[in-house]
């Protein structure tokens, strides 16, 4: 029984983690492509048009990956978590259906026009098709966040006679206070991924001395966006999200921070390994009072540690939660440092020649992916042991009739499939980056008629 629970948890965790590698770039790039196209339209600058087209091609490959890995998510609520679906479907089914009806139709209809319709549409109409794709992807994000927010902090429901949840107030459910800051924090995180990837490709071209006109646009756009969003990521969105966890999931906060014992003037742990047996942090580097300050705005405020809560309500993997949270926060802080320095160099007009900084910008591309993944792990491990906070425990939500063996069979299937998809994706993205925004020589044109025609 416990075995099947673990398999179903891994099944969802693996497929959602792999899936979210793609939407974060989709959502981030969609925004930046709209920015590039707006500038292109305003200045009537062909280089900006080429830049937008180049990112459109990367976007297309990434979007396909997001679609194919996203379809299983909509199914898995029913296939692997049927008791949960029966329990909460009357409420969260609303936002999941709305995602399909409002966001996916919008995205899929206009993506084709955005990718293949530039010749058929006027420049303005083509801008609108890019905007529709952006709006669809960001709308999609909201419906998913609202669904997750219900699992974190259920509101707007009532419990029917059969024990299942039903929609009480549509407004309260869709505009869950938890969803607001989580959405802002999440979308800012997606924009950071988009900005770092765009900057990294630009930095790579500048370092290799190719397509430098386009590369400057990539780096400039990416650094400005990266600077804005990495600051927004910490303040106010991250700060407010943390405040919500403090107020509504205090046991989660204690586990995230590795605070085993309640205390006044609680320290913040910067580095150290939680020892769950002994109830302490090994090899700690900590700053006294800061956790109290961050959570309650007073240096000597009393913060409840894990010992203030019954052990059965603790998140079931304290160490992984602690590390996810610390990796997220550590990387988030690093992003601000990198982007602020890059922005100052850009402002002084020396960034494009500062090779050490371009190296850093190029090599940072994978880290927003890690930070976003760690952030979602913090949210979802922090929700444990609950599936719907305070209402249904995770152990009661999975499909009991789907055996562990069948679960492992399909989990392995997904692992194999996603390995192949991941390799194909990297290969195709590398090819696009290698081809660059425009053909370098005439000879390339005959080899790649698509590139030439654009």
């Amino acid at each position: 029984m416990g075995n099947a629970l673990l398999v179903h948890r891994l099944h969802f965790a693996f497929t959602i983690t792999f899936h979210y590698l793609f939407p974060q770039l989709t959502m981030g790039l969609a925004l930046l492509i709209v920015v590039l196209k707006t500038i292109a339209l305003r200045r009537n600058d062909p280089v900006y048009h080429e830049a937008a087209r180049f990112w459109g091609k990367i976007f297309a490959i990434n979007f396909v990956m997001g679609v194919v890995t996203g379809i299983p998510m909509e199914f898995q609520f029913g296939t692997n978590w049927s008791h949960f679906s029966r329990f909460a479907g009357g409420v969260i089914g609303q936002t999941l259906a709305m995602e399909g009806m409002f966001a996916f139709f919008l995205e899929s209809a206009f993506l084709g026009l955005f990718l293949f319709g530039e010749k058929r549409l006027s420049p303005k109409a083509h801008w609108w098709s890019a905007f529709a794709v952006f709006a669809g992807s960001w709308l999609s994000g909201y419906f998913i966040i609202a669904t997750d927010a219900f699992m974190q902090y259920p509101v707007g429901y009532y419990k029917a006679a059969d024990g299942n949840l039903q929609l009480g107030s549509f407004r309260a459910f869709v505009f869950n206070p938890w969803a607001r800051w989580q959405y802002a924090h999440n979308m800012s995180g997606a924009a950071i991924t988009g900005a770092f990837v765009m900057t990294a490709v630009g930095a790579f071209y500048l370092l290799s001395g190719k397509w430098t006109a386009h590369a400057r646009i990539f780096v400039k756009t990416g650094v400005v966006a990266g600077c804005v969003f990495s600051i927004l990521q910490i303040f106010p969105t991250g700060d407010r999200q943390g405040k919500m966890v403090t107020d509504l999931q205090p046991v989660t906060l204690a586990a995230m921070e590795g605070l085993f014992h309640s205390q006044t003037a609680a320290p913040i742990v910067l580095i150290g390994q939680p020892d769950e047996q002994e109830g302490r942090i090994d090899n700690p580097i900590q700053v006294p009072g800061v956790l109290s300050m961050l959570t309650y705005k007073r240096w000597n405020a009393h913060v409840r540690g894990l010992d203030a809560f019954p052990k059965q309500d603790w998140p079931d993997n304290v160490s992984l939660l602690y590390f996810s949270y610390h990796i997220m926060v550590g990387l988030g802080t690093l992003f601000v440092a990198i982007m602020v320095v890059a922005f100052l160099l850009l402002w002084r007009s020396i960034l494009f020649h500062t090779r050490w900084m371009l190296w850093i910008l190029m090599l940072s591309a994978p880290f927003p992916y890690i930070a976003n993944t760690a952030g979602w792990m913090t949210a979802e491990l922090g929700r444990q042991p609950w599936l719907v906070y305070g209402l249904m425990r995770t152990e009661n939500g999975y499909s009991t009739l789907v055996s562990a063996g069948n679960g492992i069979f399909t989990l392995l299937g997904f692992m194999g499939m996603y390995t192949v998809l991941g390799i194909l994706f990297l290969f195709l993205i590398w090819r696009e980056v290698d081809h660059g925004p425009v053909a370098e020589h005439e000879s390339l044109d005959s080899l790649h008629p698509m590139t030439a025609a654009r």
Partner: protein
């Protein structure tokens, strides 16, 4: 309210089969009808701008089913665990088959994705038909409202049954033939020259099979579930369905050799619609029938509470109007026969 949502979900699933059906069908005939690289690119161009949108009808129907009938969603998705996972893998393979082929101009690369695309399309058509067969035949639901079926047991309808048995495979083959014809009419409509000619030829070959399998499937369905006639007896308006089925089959037979592809395609769409409406009409108000009828899942014991359903109706109507508007717009943008030249695929 619950019956309204029953017909909404049925309509969305029908929209999915009619729309994604033609691009699935195009995948089925792909290797047979499109022999040269140019022909293959033409087929992909005919479905390229629309296949993803068509597939959204499946996702949107799944989401709508989830919120309107949570127990049905929970029960059927976990019970059909294995075939759904297979369908997911096939949908993935098919998507990359369509989208990744054009990225590299190399024969080996393209041949590989051609086979991936066509193979997954064929299997998907069979699996979707078998799924419908399962709903009509009934599944081993128990008092908890759940069940689990293995992929197959002994292909018979006795003792422990599986997803695939002679009946569901029969419906699967009917679905394959129907979508093959449907896709052929679409390709014929969107292309000219040899490719259009061969597509018409394939559709012509499909017709007698489609006719024979339609009759066999109806008889077999009555044989394994006599209850399906009850609604027709009580509400004779349902008898319009077989009339439409026969008429549309006749129109397909007549229009195809005359080169009236549009009429043939519309007739095929109407044929699929009436077959699915006929099935929905037959099972209503049961949404998933049990082998033991006292455990049938109906619209009454699976629907969400009425407040959620009424709120849902408001936003659903708005979003459906928008979705239809997008579709009209996109199909108008890409109307006419496809041309090679600049652009993707």
């Amino acid at each position: 309210m619950a019956s309204l949502w029953f017909w909404i979900v049925a309509a969305m699933l029908t929209a999915y089969v009619v729309l994604d059906g033609f691009d699935l069908g195009a995948g089925v005939i792909y290797l047979l009808a499109a022999r040269t690289n140019d022909d293959r690119r033409r087929v992909l161009r005919a479905i390229g701008p629309v296949w993803d949108g068509n597939e959204v009808w499946l996702i949107a129907a799944g989401g709508t089913l989830y919120f309107a009938f949570p127990l049905l969603y929970a029960s059927s998705f976990s019970g059909f665990y294995l075939p759904l996972m297979v369908v997911l893998w096939l949908l993935m393979l098919r998507a990359i088959g369509i989208e990744f082929r054009a990225h590299i101009e190399n024969r080996v690369w393209q041949d590989f994705f051609d086979v991936v695309f066509s193979g997954s399309s064929i299997l998907l058509a069979v699996f979707f038909g078998a799924a419908l067969g399962n709903v009509v035949r009934g599944v081993p639901l128990d008092a908890t409202g759940y069940f689990f079926e293995p992929l197959w047991t002994n292909f018979k309808l006795r003792s422990q049954i599986g997803i695939l048995d002679w009946y569901t495979v029969l419906i699967g083959v009917l679905a394959l033939v129907t979508l093959t014809a449907h896709g052929s009419y679409y390709v014929a409509l969107k292309t000219d020259g040899d490719l259009g000619h061969r597509s018409r030829g394939i559709a012509l070959l499909c017709w007698p099979l489609q006719f024979f399998l339609t009759c066999t499937a109806l008889v077999a369905s009555y044989f394994i579930r006599p209850r399906i006639m009850d609604n027709y007896v009580n509400h004779p308006i349902g008898l319009l369905v077989p009339i439409v089925v026969v008429t549309t089959l006749a129109i397909m037979l007549w229009a195809n050799p005359k080169g009236k592809e549009k009429l043939a395609f519309l007739a095929s769409s109407l044929y699929i619609t009436s077959m699915l409406v006929g099935a929905a009409f037959a099972v209503y108000p049961v949404v998933l029938s049990a082998r033991d009828h006292q455990y049938d899942l109906t619209i009454y014991n699976t629907a969400a509470a009425s407040h959620g359903l009424s709120v849902g109706l408001a936003w659903w109507t708005l979003s459906a109007v928008l979705a239809v508007a997008y579709f009209v717009f996109v199909y108008r943008m890409f109307r006419g026969k496809v041309q090679l030249g600049e652009g993707h695929y």
